[in-house]
Every structure is written in C-alpha cells, then in structure tokens.
Amino acid sequence: MSAPFTPVLAGSALGADAPAPATPRHVPLTGGEPNPSAAALVRQFGDAVRGVRVVRGETNVVVANDRLLEIVRWLHTEPSQRYDYLSDVTAVEFRDPEQPIEVVWHLRSVAFRRFLRLKVELAPGTPLEVPSVCEVFRSADWLERECFDMFGIRFAGHPDLRRILMWEDYREGHPLRKDFPLRGRFSRSEQLRQALAANPEARYSMEELSVVDAFEDLPEEMRRRLKAGEKAGE
C-alpha cells in the first residue's frame, strides 16, 4: 500500500505576499528572467550544468548525462526547490545528423509554481543511454518506456524497460527516429502478418492488471489457479 496522500496547494510555498498567478503576455522568443532554480543548480552542481537558456519564458537547463539522476533527486528533495511533478520525458532528434539527440525532462514544482525543463545532449556516436529517474518519480516508468519505444533511448536502471505503444516484439525499429520511413520498413502484408500473429491477451501479467491488492477477495478456486501461474485470459 502506498503512503497516505498529502495534498500540495499550488503556490503554497510562495508566501502570502506573492503576486497572483497571471497568464504571461508578450513573452519574447528567447531571453528573459530565468527560473531561480537554474541559478541554484549552477551553485549546487557547478560544471554539471552545461547551459541555461530561456525560451518563451521557460527555462531550459542542459545538464551532464552522468549527473542527471543526482540533479533530479536534489530538485525533488531539496526544500527550496520541491519539484514534485514530472510531467513528461521525451526526446528530440534533429534533421541535422551532426546535432545531438536531446532527451528532455519536464519538471514542475507545484508549491513554488515553477516549471523547469532539463535536457541531456547525446552527441552522435555516443550510446543512447541516460539514467532512469524512476526511483525518484514513479510517473517516469511509462514515460520512459514510451521514449524508449519511440526513440530507442535506453534508460539505465529502469525496472521494466519494454515497448509500450507498439507491441512488444515489434521488429521494425523506433518510429520517431529520423531514419525511420513513415510507412515502416516492412511491406504492408508483412506488417499485418506480424500484427495478427500477436496474442492480444498474453501481454498482461496479473501485476499489470492491478488485481494484486484484490487477490485476497477472489474465490478460493481462482486464487489457487493464479498461484499456479495461470495468466489472465489464457
């Protein structure tokens, strides 16, 4: 069972005299006031912060690949930051093959009403591998699986790095990479043959179906069958 849920009110750490939130108007494309967390990151981690850039009023911080997990954990636990919500993990591949592939983390601090975008640049020729932040944010689990599925980026330390959008034994590659043809690599007949060969019910373990907690309420006969290793729907 998970820990009891304590709600965090938006802006609760800002103090009573903080200005009311308002929709920003006339935001310049680049430049502007960076998120105060960026300066705190530079103070705390020094060289691991490779660059800070403000785009459309949002702060992008490029960090070193090997210190990423440390940085994310600090942002999560440090009382002056409190980044408690990881809203997205994704990647960007540019058309220019010289340009590095960027892996992007979107972090949000509800208590401070801050948004921070972390980036790790993977130069061409280096292995596509970044640390997983699953142990800090549980929500990273599926987001990282999606990023792995679409871009082929490996998240070291992820508990269960499988495809999530395409079926598990999809063999054509990673669809959002620039070298992936729009219609896939195989012919339509081969694609359909492989898709129809999949067993739609075999992919879900009992754990994924989230009946683990309800296990004790099941009839005795069903519990016995499940303990013997029977999967749902087979």
Binding site: L165, M166, W167, E172, P175, F180, P181, L182, R183, G184, S187, R188, S189, E190, Q191, L192, R193, Q194, A195, L196, A197, A198, N199, P200
Partner: protein, 207 residues
C-alpha cells in the same frame, strides 16, 4: 487473398426456378426478421464513433431499424460496425471479435480510415479493415454523417433481404489455401497492387 474455390451455386434468383413456394416464403420471413433486428457490435475507435453515437441518439434514432440494442458482447451481435481507424496493435483484437460473432454476421466499415486507412498512411495503421475481416458495406466520409451511416445500414438490410437459405455459398468462411490454384502469395499481391490509391509504396494484400 488466395481462396479456395467457392462451391457451385445451385440457386438462381429467377422466380421460375425449381425452388418451392414454402422455401421462398420462409426465406422472406427469416430475412425480414433478420434485416429488421440487426444487433450492432460497435467497434468505435475514433471520431467516427461520435457520429455513430449521434446516429443512435434521438435525432437520427437507429431504433427505427431495430438496431437500438447495442451488443457490447460479440457473442450476441449480428453486425460489426467498425467506426474509426484500426492500428496494427488492434488488428488481432478486431479479428478475434469477428471470430467470436456467431453466424449470420455482417460487417460495416464506417469512415475513410476503417475502409482504407484514410489519411493515416503510416507505419501504425491498418490500411483498411478488409485486410483483416470481410466487409459488407463501406461507408465513405471523414467522418460520415449519421445519414451516411443510415444509408449504409439500409444497403445492408437490402443485402440481407436478398439472401437465400439454400445458397451453399452463404456463410462459408474461407481461409487462404496455399494448395489452391487461385492462391496468390502475399508478396505477389504486394507487387501487383503497387502503387495503390493516391500514394506510392502502399500495398494491400489480404494477409
């Protein structure tokens, strides 16, 4: 799809045929009952399903055709209405649902995506559900208006009323038989059918 040859039809539709009066009247009765109580299995995957819901709602009122009973179990359904695009990941599920439906059964492919893949000419989307299951009526549109779906349903009713119980080619589910002379391997179908439609490198073989 290479298929085994259909059994020779011994039934003609001329009124002067040898079929008896009882058989034709029974056919009429059975078909009348079937055509006016089609239970749809809604397989809605996208925006077409919204139009399908509108067809079932009071303005267009699918109940006029005896179809108000949506069968969310394929085992009590007569007509599968595939409304929306079908990704490859859903292909085995659609086929299994079709196999779970008891005979007699029909299929309506609603909208451009279900009929041909539509604008989604990409790695993830099935290029027409007729590559997975046999389809009786295709409803064009993106999405079709409820009138379009109703017209498709009326066409299906017309088809149902013309069926003959004595026709041996009805309800025969055929699987590709590589020994048949009519069998064409999928690779050859791909080669012959390329390019298909308005795009190059798009192929469609049944399997």
């Amino acid at each position: 799809m290479g298929l085994t040859p259909r059994p020779e039809s011994t039934v003609s539709y001329s009124p002067s045929s040898q079929e008896g009066w009882v058989a034709t009247k029974l056919d009429f009765l059975v078909n009348w009952a079937r055509a006016n109580s089609l239970w749809p299995m809604p397989f809605g995957t996208a925006c077409c399903a919204i139009e399908f819901m509108a067809s079932a709602a009071s303005d267009f009122d699918l109940a006029r055709f005896g179809m108000e009973r949506m069968s969310f179990s394929p085992r009590q359904a007569d007509v599968l209405i595939c409304a929306g695009r079908v990704p490859f990941k859903l292909a085995p599920i659609l086929r299994r649902i079709w196999q779970q439906m008891p005979q007699p059964k029909w299929a309506i492919s609603m909208g451009a995506c279900a009929s041909s893949g539509g604008m989604f000419d990409n790695y993830a989307v099935v290029q027409g559900i007729d590559t997975i299951i046999p389809v009786d009526v295709y409803v064009p549109g993106c999405p079709p208006r409820p009138e379009g779906l109703l017209y498709g349903i009326m066409l299906l009713q017309e088809k149902v009323t013309k069926e003959r119980a004595a026709d041996p080619t009805l309800r025969v589910e055929m699987d590709p038989d590589p020994k048949s002379q009519l069998y064409i391997p999928p690779s050859v179908i791909d080669e012959l059918s390329e390019p298909f439609g308005n795009s190059v490198h798009q192929t469609r073989s049944g399997l």
